[in-house]
């Protein structure tokens, strides 16, 4: 299969370019009988769209989704669901400069070489963060499917921006507060500080990175397919397809590498409601690549946005000499807040795919319609 296809039984095909006619996706393998409408996708897309606050890009994209196929009488039919967003507010002129002068930190240079100059470079084309909207379209459906069929919920939120980080919060707190502020950090005070340094970075023509934490609850025991489709494997594959993601850890992650086995192992016990649980959750809910019923915990590291206003050194591909570049276009000083719904979407998508692979979601969700 090509690189534009994700998933085994639930399959997402992404198409479109940042400044082309539209961006879109086909989600195939969704069971029949799920109640679904455009608003289910729109609510998540609205959380991702630009122009929402002072700390995001000032491009105005309405990002109104249209479902073109796969829904009949308000329900999924098991046929492929195609959804698109027509591109509107795109200004391609500023991008002429990057044709021959690759922007530092961007895909420009390797893309130019790989595709022999044929790739659509306007607005970064296929490499644009805009394409994450196609992940959200598919992920929103997966999210609804998981909630309806298995009661699984996934939330993500900002825990670090630049050097400012937020202590651990309970799942309930995080769920309640993550969308109450512009940075999507569930701690309002920390959120304020984060916002402030993002504004500073913008002012100085610079950008910031950060960390997103993602938690899924309500998981069955045993999701994951050894040995190459471990939950870590498939989740990281999906998450590393988000532009700017450069690091991922599960549970205690890198800090766990400094612990002793006796400290890092999660001992088993019986919960008050008579279930087998672990006393700690250093595993992040995954053992041997399989979910163990504990909350799934992932931390995803985003590099600072590559597009900055400051002048940078680059090369001219025609003259093969050094030159300066001032990156064109309107960009986010920090992509982390807008990445929240993208992370939730991809994690939901992979969980749904695995639930279908292991037969936990039936291909027809309810009894025959009357």
């Amino acid at each position: 299969m090509t690189g534009n296809i994700l998933g085994e039984r639930l399959t997402l095909i992404s198409f479109g370019e940042s400044h082309g006619r539209c961006i879109g996706m086909v989600l195939d393998g969704c069971p029949a009988g799920l109640s679904l409408s455009e608003s289910d996708l729109q609510i998540e897309l609205d959380r991702r769209k630009p122009g929402q606050s002072i700390i995001t890009t000032q491009r105005k994209e309405e990002d109104k989704v249209e479902i073109l196929s796969g829904i009949f009488n308000g329900y999924t039919t098991s046929a492929p669901i195609c959804a698109i967003i027509w591109n509107k507010d795109s200004d391609s002129k500023p991008y002429e400069v990057i044709k021959n002068n690759p922007r530092p930190g961007h895909a420009d240079y390797p893309s130019f070489i790989k595709y022999g100059g044929f790739a659509d470079y306007r607005g970064s084309g296929r490499f644009s963060g805009r394409l994450t909207a196609t992940m959200v379209m598919g992920g929103a459906i997966a999210q609804k499917l998981l909630k309806y069929s298995l009661g699984i919920e996934t939330i993500a939120y900002t825990t670090q921006i630049g050097q400012i980080s937020c202590n651990f919060l309970s799942y309930e707190e995080a769920k309640l507060n993550r969308y109450t502020n512009d940075v999507r950090c569930p701690n309002p005070e920390i959120a304020e500080k984060m916002k402030s340094i993002i504004i500073d970075a913008r002012k100085s023509g610079d950008s910031l990175g950060g960390i997103v934490e993602c938690i899924s609850v309500g998981l069955p025991v045993g999701l994951g397919e050894p040995i190459f489709s471990s939950m870590e494997s498939d989740l990281s594959k999906a998450l590393f397809s988000i532009p700017s993601v450069k690091a991922i850890e599960f549970g205690s992650g890198f800090s766990g590498t400094k612990l002793k086995g006796s400290e890092n192992n999660d001992e088993y016990t019986i919960s008050e409601d008579n279930k087998i649980i672990t006393k700690t959750n250093n595993s992040g809910g995954i053992l041997g690549g399989l979910t163990n019923g504990m909350p799934l915990v992932i931390r995803i590291g985003f590099k600072p946005a590559s597009s900055i206003a400051k002048k940078q050194k680059t090369v001219d591909l025609v003259s093969n000499s050094e030159c300066d570049i001032v990156v064109p276009g309107r960009h986010d000083p920090c992509v982390v807040p807008r990445a929240i719904p993208v992370v939730e979407s991809l994690v939901s998508f992979i969980l749904a795919d695995h639930a279908i692979r292991w037969g936990l979601i039936s291909p027809v969700l309810s009894d025959r319609k009357k």
Copy 2:
């Protein structure tokens, strides 16, 4: 496809159980015309096999590989290459206890639930670290293929054990020294300290984790398939299939999330031999999911080995009550040193798969044999 299959054009199927008759793999999609013999695989397997030093498990497994198909007159034929290792030094009796008392940190509990009690639990069955030998078999072939056809080389080495870590070394130093000591750390003094704390951990019935760094050089510009088969996506998918891996970062990774864009972006320049390179390599050689010609740099975090001699709390699945467990079997106090060839194998495998996907390695490597 099932979870036991990795790769798109170069395909690895792993089979066998830790205490079954054998472990093995089928590598399919290897071009015809590569000179190959069992010794090409054996040299890498020997670096992974147990019983090599005081800091690894005392199990003695000869791990002698046999190639069953796909080679004719000393060359690959383009037919699937099956290779196996017969299991010998396995003692399954100690594992009776884990049937009902899952070991903390291991796959026992989710595996038991997932497979309804049918899974082969002896020596952890399919979840055993022993299965990484099947990754090495396939990876050794990929490594030779990459070296022969494109001049690509990949090395991995230990940079952290427990709390002791090693500063950055040049590629040449690392390549030269990584296999000169038991912990596979290219800095001999640090290696000595690491070995010492591993011995201490073993004595106290405990275990340690650590970090492996992996570098590939000689890469062409443009490997990687957007948007879901980015290099980060496919490399992390493969690497997270190694038991104990819980964290992965590329280039500046998590530390890069604290930098500003102007600090983390790698500016372009022209090298002395007139090539386009970047002044720094915070991207770890990957931009937009594509290789950019700079060295590929990955850091892989291993949790401390789950099997420890200390008594731990667990539950009895039959009586649904808490109990103690002393983990049976002979195990490594730290799996990091033996993981070095596994990391090299999987990274080589993914790079070779991508090189074939993008047409950089021809399906027949040389002219017709005379």
Copy 3:
């Protein structure tokens, strides 16, 4: 992967329903640098569209294609190509009856059971012959790619309608004359007779089937991937996805089963231009699942169209009792003539996929654009 995806390296995803908003496809894996516009697709779609002659359905569908992605400055970019046709002349009312009374010969009954009543049954939904237009969209691109990069040409034509069949014609004759008449039979006299019996069938409220022959020339030696992706395997998989196809044979096919080995074997010889060829072509250009450089010859049997005006017996799914049905809608008395471009498309698609799989078509077709 799901059933709506075809191909390994060149990948076609079909979406849409007969009476939904649109039908469309995503073609992924097409090399960069192929000159392509909507007219390349439209010319083939026009040959498939209804309402072209007295012997096809009188539905008027303009079937105007729009390319939504993957083309930049008139060339393919290696990004997924999405193309759609908005549905217009669809009248869904007549289909209410088939909701509970399945039409003989159609997918209605198994589809109803399979999808629990959720499937879009209007105009047969996903099972409509209308979806073959999505195959033509992708196939037209494959056809152009094969012609441009390898000089491969594929033609199909009608050789039998009902009981009337046409003797073998040379490739040149067939190529020249196949689109000169309504039945797409290259023999004009036979074509006249065929047309006449189709008109008779329509008048009597009945339908006819027939046979399409397809020939590809200019093939390289060695396309096909043993043992499960033989050329026969992958071509038949694609062709049997055309509704109404119930039989396929290659070369001497079923009649060859009655010959002796000494009669059916194609002996080798040297051609006048010093190439290795076979004296006969009973193999249809495929030996051991691989192309042998001779013309590829396939014969595809279409059952008579299931939709007939005559009253038929069926059952009522609600009352579980027998009843009569008069099939609603406007339909072709014989689908064979309109299937010609569909057959050419799918055969071209599979050949292109195999050519890419074996590295015969490079991922970037020409030098860097100036």
Copy 4:
């Protein structure tokens, strides 16, 4: 994926060469909890093995299967099942001649060109009919799985050898008598005549082809995945991977192309036990690519065996000139009888794969083992 892999959820990987160390397969995706032993595979392999009667090749291959993985305590575990047969009675010397003089009707010539001379040509290597044993290994497991979980049964039998054919027999008769004679034709008198012409063909240094009919009963309604994984698509893909198969038809097939719609359509009715059935079965149990609950009926055409004792014309690849060849080795004068278990195996395999894809077979077959 490569061409050596078949199936989506149930996956068969075939490896090995005719005269290599062994032939084998890995079956992955088989649910846990199926009682399975080597004898389940051996019984089907014995029906395929050579040297069973006067009308098959006189090679003696014991073809004793060994299961190397995936079974624990007599049950499948959900882990990949690897099984092999060690090659024994292979005499490779006679094959030196075909290295440069390709045998008419065989893969020799295209294989030589495709693989640049690197392919193992001994005994036809990967193109040997011997590899069908690997299909039988996997198919035997699928057959048991289908019988146990869904009550599906598949039988195949000879209905034509050369010019002699056998009238339709009831499923019960065919099932009872197909293995009672050397040609596997359920009509004993016709079988006698068939055997006689096979013996004649052998005596005259020639070979014969024929037709195998295959019927499956007990099928659920709705197997098949539109639009590219129709039942006809996936069954034909699998069956055309059997060497010598050149034609396939479902139900009325090619003869149906001459009927009118009113004759070929199968009207619905209610059976005595109150089920929806069709009065006739011209569809061969498949409508719109989906099973409709009626018996699945396939007819598979085999060309006469390519290996004949008669002298034939070929070319010398070194001197590029014409020459004679007398095909070496010991071969079947007619492969049809030995193909019966192969056809049953592949049809069972595809049905099982589809049943798993549509969630009709659970990943764990029974309750937790006590």
